[in-house]
């Protein structure tokens, strides 16, 4: 196993150094170019001492030795590369988070071990990578629930803060519960104690750290994290091209003189990272499986041959047995043909009636079944008699059957078998029965010598057949009837189908029209949105200038203006402010119309109280009596409902300002499927004759001198309630106050 591993490591290392070596000419080519381009920069003085920092527990890459000095593969590589590039290095150790910050802010010059990620590329510049590693998931051996990356979703995942494992779990959204630790040592100790479900880190680092901490109840999963692959590089501060160039140069030199390989071998020589590439897998399978397949094939051929030999022997034996049986059969047939008696016995044992006739139609033999059927009591009654005259003398209808027409005799007249099932045979007592018969010519030496007739009584089966025929006819009638009914139904269905097709066509047309309309609507919505956006920006700018510059006029030239002049300017400013309010209200209305409804169960009682608290000034709260009953909650958009109550309560306060009674009453009435809310004031009220104008945009029932406003508030309320599929209304009388109400469906 060790041998395999070192072999594998060596092969991989050889490949890696080949890639690096092939980079060297390229780097050498780039160096003069860089030097040229950076010669114009202010910092061309060569630094000879640089400061670096390494983290203490990222074995074997970065750690501390017994004396507390930085140590590890990355540190040693860095020192070697720096030395080759003629640099002196002052190295210290520090927590990863802090030393990363140090580099970003220029307190140190370089870090020997930084995994290259897109996030970090923004802050650092990276040397060429000197190693690539894959990450792993470490779990407690007792836990069985974690097999894949997806299983981590609801699990607590431990990572080192600021490590690229943290970036990876956050970027790939691995888990909702991420616990960060200062070091990986801390993370693995926690996992070992059963705090947290998994640690994600570099596989090698994790394995080494576990070994070093002597933790035995934590293991890595045998699973690749292709998204968490890591190129380890040296990092310098973004833009420090000079140092980067020298570090790359140093790396190239130690790769070329093989001290890189030795350092690497010393630190990684005996560690298994358990990663096998697909190519290696293929090679191993070739080594093992091809000989195995050849061996199996040979074995199979031997077994097959033996099997064929056995089969051949068994077949030969079977053939000889068959030959024996055939000869025995021949022998038995000979015996049988000799025994005429046996044939007679055979004839008499059959259920069918059988008799033979010669060419004149006279009986030559008759069997027992025939005699029984025809009520012939002895052979002598039939033998030698003309059988047509004896049993076949009449047709089914009872009329005479001439012998010249006899169908049975056709057998030897035509020289072939005849058959009938619609004639009668006649018994000795004169009664007839329906019979079916075959008549076959008897040939001796190819000459017709007579015929043999086989017959049986079909009275019963004929009757059954006729009954069956009747039933069949009846069935046919029914089938026909049903078929015609079905046809009719099919016709109706066809018509319906046609109607349906027309309807579908209509639907398609309407859908297409709807689609076009929707497109138009979306278009005009977009235009409207652009318009509103433009209004909110562009229409305000001139107002701001009018207001602002009027103010400057007042401030800078007040001594040149008399009181009337100042009043004019103030009027200009007031109007600009009013117009701004108007724009704000209109934008508000448009926002109310287009914002998405998000209905939730809303406590209207608390909402109305909260709004009153916000809207009423301190003085108003002292003056007003605010009475609110315990009113039910309802499903609605919280933000929009708040707007409704703001407008309603503001109105109630505003229109009560000049009245004697300062009271606002809020109540509700719960119906079966809806709730109606009421707000009543004892203020200026309105003339019910103009009730219909109340909710119209820019419609006012009071002059601006009496009560300020622009007629948008109630329009907004109506729009919001309508969007909730509710109703809104009001009642009132001049100087007696007003009741506003709105009704919302419960669902």
């Amino acid at each position: 196993m060790d041998l395999n591993n070192s072999h594998e490591m060596q092969a991989r290392w050889t490949r890696f150094s080949m890639i690096l070596a092939s980079c060297i000419p390229l780097i050498c080519f780039l160096i003069p170019l860089n030097a040229q381009s950076s010669s114009g920069e202010p910092f061309t003085n060569r630094r000879d001492t640089i400061y670096i920092a390494a983290e203490p527990d990222y074995p074997p890459w970065s750690m501390v030795d017994e004396n507390g000095n930085p140590d590890g593969l990355s540190v040693e590589l860095f020192l070697a590369a720096a030395e080759a590039a003629g640099l002196t290095v002052d190295a210290k150790t520090g927590i990863w988070n802090i030393i990363m910050q140090d580099l970003a802010e220029g307190r140190i010059d370089a870090l020997p071990l930084v995994g290259r990620t897109p996030d970090r590329e923004a802050i650092f510049d990276f040397s060429m990578p000197y190693s690539s590693l894959h990450g792993a998931i470490f779990v407690n051996k007792k836990s069985h629930g974690i097999q894949t990356l997806e299983d981590l979703h609801d699990k607590q995942v431990l990572v080192m803060r600021g490590d690229n494992a943290e970036e990876f779990v956050r970027r790939a959204d691995i888990s909702e519960k991420i616990i960060t630790t200062n070091t990986y040592e801390e993370a693995f100790n926690m996992l070992s104690r059963g705090e947290g479900d998994a640690v994600i880190s570099q596989r090698i680092t994790g394995i080494l750290l576990l070994r070093q901490l002597n933790i035995r109840n934590v293991k890595p999963l045998d699973m690749h994290l292709p998204e968490f692959k890591q190129d380890f590089c040296f990092a310098v501060k973004k833009g420090d091209e000079e140092l980067l160039k020298r570090l790359n140069e140093g790396l190239s030199i130690i790769i070329a003189n093989n001290s890189f390989g030795e350092i690497r071998k010393r630190w990684l020589g005996n560690i298994s990272d358990r990663e096998i590439t697909p190519a290696e897998l293929l090679r191993w399978s070739l080594y093992i499986f091809i000989p195995l397949i050849i061996l199996t094939s040979l074995l199979w051929i031997i077994i097959l041959r033996r099997h064929v030999r056995k089969r051949t022997a068994r077949l030969k034996e079977e053939i000889s047995q068959h030959e024996k049986t055939v000869s025995e059969l021949h022998h038995k047939q000979g015996l049988l043909s000799e025994s005429e008696e046996q044939i007679r016995l055979l004839l008499n044992s059959t259920a069918e009636g059988i008799y033979g006739i010669d060419t004149d139609g006279n009986c030559t033999f008759i069997n027992k079944s025939a005699m029984d059927a025809l009520l012939i009591t002895g052979q002598e009654q039939a033998i030698g008699k003309n059988m047509h005259g004896l049993i076949h003398h009449s047709k089914s209808d009872g009329s005479h059957y001439d012998i010249e027409e006899c169908n049975i005799l056709n057998a030897f007249k035509l020289g072939k078998g005849v058959h009938s099932n619609n004639e009668k045979l006649w018994r000795m007592d004169g009664t007839g029965f329906d019979a079916e018969y075959f008549s076959h010519p008897i040939r001796i030496d190819n000459e017709v010598k007579g015929a043999v007739v086989t017959f049986w009584d079909i009275t019963v089966s004929k009757r059954e057949r006729e009954e069956l025929k009747k039933i069949r006819n009846k069935l046919e009638e029914e089938v026909e009837e049903r078929t015609s009914e079905l046809k009719e139904k099919v016709n109706i269905l066809n018509n319906n189908q046609k109607a349906m097709l027309y309807m579908v066509e209509d639907l398609n047309r309407i859908t297409a029209e709807l689609k076009t309309e929707r497109k138009k609507l979306q278009e005009s919505n977009r235009e409207l949105e652009a318009f509103t956006y433009s209004v909110s920006h562009d229409l305000r700018a001139p107002l701001r200038a009018i207001n602002g510059f009027s103010k400057f006029l007042l401030e800078d030239y007040s001594e040149l203006l008399d009181e009337e002049g100042k009043r004019y300017i103030n009027t200009i400013r007031d109007n600009a402010t009013k117009m701004d309010q108007l724009i704000t209200d209109m934008l508000n209305l448009s926002r109310v119309s287009k914002s998405e409804l998000k209905p939730i169960k809303t406590d209207i009682y608390s909402l109305a109280n909260e709004v009153y608290d916000e809207v009423a000034s301190g003085d108003q709260k002292d003056e007003f009596e605010f009475i609110i009953e315990k009113i039910p909650p309802v499903n609605c958009d919280h933000g929009l409902m708040k707007q409704v109550w703001q407008n309603l309560i503001e109105n109630a306060l505003k229109y009560s300002a000049k009245s004697e009674t300062h009271r606002i009453e809020i109540s509700a009435k719960e119906g079966k499927s809806d709730v109606t809310y009421f707000i009543r004031d004892y203020g200026a009220g309105f003339n019910p004759r103009y009730k219909h104008k109340l909710f119209g945009l820019f419609q006012r029932l009071h002059s601006g001198d009496d009560f300020e406003g622009n007629g948008v508030g109630l329009a907004i309320i109506q729009r919001i309630i309508q969007r909730h599929e509710g109703e809104v209304g009001a009642d009132g009388n001049p100087e007696k106050g007003a009741i506003f109400w709105f009704r919302l469906p419960k669902e």
Partner: protein, 147 residues
């Protein structure tokens, strides 16, 4: 004012009236030293990154605060904000977004991109002076740069 001087406040505003008002509002708060107005997003970025006609500013310190309008010619304000806040070196410059819009998406987008404050330019100039006082002063005086 030449751009060779240290600039403390950069106003990015294409409407000269608004720019004048902003300067006046700053003046009211005794903050008139070294103010520069540029008229579009491109000039703003040229200034911040010392390029184009501001090449000679290379090596000079960044402004202490940027007042940034959103609706600007060439490169709009959100894009300017994004570029400033994505750059490691410039992201520490406080940027106060100044706009006439109360559009929620503008406010949210500005904060998402890293704006330090957001002032809706009110029509009433007095309120504008107050807003500049509250937010501008905070970022200018209380927020010291790390040296």
């Amino acid at each position: 004012m030449t751009t060779k001087q240290e600039i403390e406040i950069l106003i990015v505003e294409d409407n000269p009236n608004d720019a004048e008002m902003a300067i006046r509002a700053l003046k009211k708060n005794n903050l008139t030293n070294n103010v520069l107005v540029v008229e579009d997003g491109e000039q703003a970025l040229d200034f911040i990154f010392s390029r184009g006609k501001f090449t000679d500013r290379k090596g000079m310190t960044h402004p202490k605060i940027v007042l940034l309008d959103l609706k600007l010619p060439k490169i709009d304000g959100l894009e300017v904000l994004k570029v400033i806040k994505e750059n490691q070196e410039t992201k520490i410059i406080p940027v106060v977004v100044l706009t006439s819009s109360k559009e929620e998406r503008d406010i949210i987008e500005s904060y998402n991109l890293g704006a330090n404050s957001y002032i809706v330019k009110p029509v009433d100039f007095d309120k504008f002076v107050d807003a500049v006082k509250d937010l501008g002063l905070y970022w200018l005086l209380l927020n010291q740069f790390p040296n």
